[in-house]
């Protein structure tokens, strides 16, 4: 029932990967848009980029160095947000530009690596290893467990942060674990969609469904389905057009978001 493109083993691996990423999008993407962490998510992906570049020459898993770089970034943003000494958005922008530049310099001048900057930035269909798939599965399992354990904290703290503690909720730890889960999700998504396009899978589907979803549960279910459809269609497009899957998924997702945004805006005006 699948198109011919998915006959090849590497495409079946890519398919499995994108379905697991759709699960992550469903569980965490919803919290990313509800808790206004879309830019944070984008930042984590970009910050991981120099980590990915050094992984090859260092001979370690790119997820490991990517995660280290991303955690450094996430910890920094979290600390800046609490310290309130600098404007967080300006500092974040600075770090992101720095990370991108550092990654490019490391890749082209220092290591002259064959890693391929465009592959690290925009993802690749080929070469997904068993380890990549297992790590994505692990991140998905962890995200599901955290969601089940902490969803009410995330909801109450997001809805009305001033009252969460009075409701008996310890939000600080829960929020840090949410950032950790998002960071892990972004890092395992890097192999498929690339450092610059993590939001294509973790944010755009959730932002699209958000326009119509009446509850958190429908937002999550709808996002998982939409991310799966966009992921599979994006893979097929990437295969047929011989482009990276990241851009294909991002363009599809962006177009659909625009369509839904226009339709809901028009519908609201006419009702």
């Amino acid at each position: 029932m699948l198109p011919e493109a998915f006959d090849a083993p590497f495409m079946q691996r890519a398919l499995l990967e994108s379905l697991m990423l759709a699960g992550l999008a469903g569980v965490l993407g919803s919290w990313i848009v509800l808790r206004r962490l879309a830019f944070f998510t984008h930042g984590v992906g970009t910050a991981a980029f120099p980590g990915l570049v050094v992984a090859g020459p260092a001979g370690v898993a790119p997820q490991l160095t990517g995660l280290a770089a991303a955690l450094l970034y996430a910890g920094g943003v979290e600390w800046l947000g609490r310290a309130r000494r600098v404007a967080v958005d300006a500092a974040t922008g600075l770090v992101l530009v720095g990370a991108l530049a550092l990654g490019v310099i490391l890749a082209s001048d220092v290591f002259e690596s064959g890693a391929g900057v465009d592959r690290l930035l925009f993802g690749s269909l080929i070469g997904l290893s068993d380890r990549d798939l297992w790590l994505t599965g692990l991140a998905l399992a962890a995200a599901v467990v955290l969601h089940i354990a902490l969803r009410r904290s995330w909801l109450a703290q997001g809805f009305d942060p001033g009252t969460a503690r009075a409701l008996g909720i310890r939000a600080e730890l829960a929020d840090r674990l949410l950032l950790l889960a998002i960071t892990s999700a972004a890092v395992v998504a890097l192999d498929a969609v690339g450092a610059l396009l993590v939001t294509a899978v973790l944010v755009i589907p959730a932002a699209t469904v958000r326009l119509v979803a009446p509850s958190v549960a429908t937002l999550q279910a709808g996002t998982a389905v939409l991310a799966a459809v966009e992921g599979v269609a994006g893979l097929w497009l990437a295969y047929e057009l011989n482009i990276g899957p990241g851009p294909a998924i991002a363009v599809l997702g962006g177009a659909l978001f625009a369509l839904v945004a226009v339709v809901t805006a028009v519908a609201r005006r006419w009702t």
């Binding site: 902490l150 009410r152 809805f159 001033g162 009252t163 008996g168 909720i169 509850s215 429908t218 937002l219």
Partner: protein, 247 residues
Amino acid sequence: MSGSPVVVEGLAGGYAAGADVLRGVSFTLEAGTITAVLGPNGGGKTTLFRAMLAELPAQRGVVRLVGRPAYVPQTDRTRLDFPVNALDVVLMGAYSRTPSWRRLARADRDAARACLDRVGLADAARRRFGALSGGQRQRVLIARALLQDSPVVLLDEPLSGVDAVSAARIDAVFDELRAERRVLLVATHDVEQARRWDRVVCLNGEQVAFGAPAEVLTTAVLRSTYGAELVVLAGGERAVAVDHHSH
């Protein structure tokens, strides 16, 4: 005095060490009373509540309460774009009773509906919180506090900018809570309202006065509470605080 449900002694504090927003606050409240917390914007009403919730980053002095107080924030502190309905919001009042991985108890769901009914919104349970009117949203937040079933309830300007129907309903709920022997602290700008309640705390960076409305609500006290914001009407007996809202 140890039997009183709310004891505050020599309370001072603020949002950073060495930068007190509030000083010299001392009062004792008995069960079954409503206390108005009067003061200008920035006078320390919300800060007092933060201190009573033990959430003020820097605080000194004594705050002794029975149980964990319920808190009703100003409605503009909530996110109107969240995909939650009125019942979802009320149910947050039961979160501390059930671990997140377990379904909320049937009894809590029934109790949440009963709380919505008490604030006159039984029919709005399934309506999106953000689609309700300001007064209705305020009543939903009060219903959430009702579900918490706390002996002490702190309400931050629950009557500011609400419609007449909501205001009447909220007033009625206050009377019920007083009859249930709970302690209510209500931040308000409305001096006339404060006259109808049992105690008044006047704050202007520090405690200006505390006591029964008849003793406290004099022109002199209101003048030191509100400073230049105060407008005194003819006769000198009736004073109205002009509300410069800026949020």
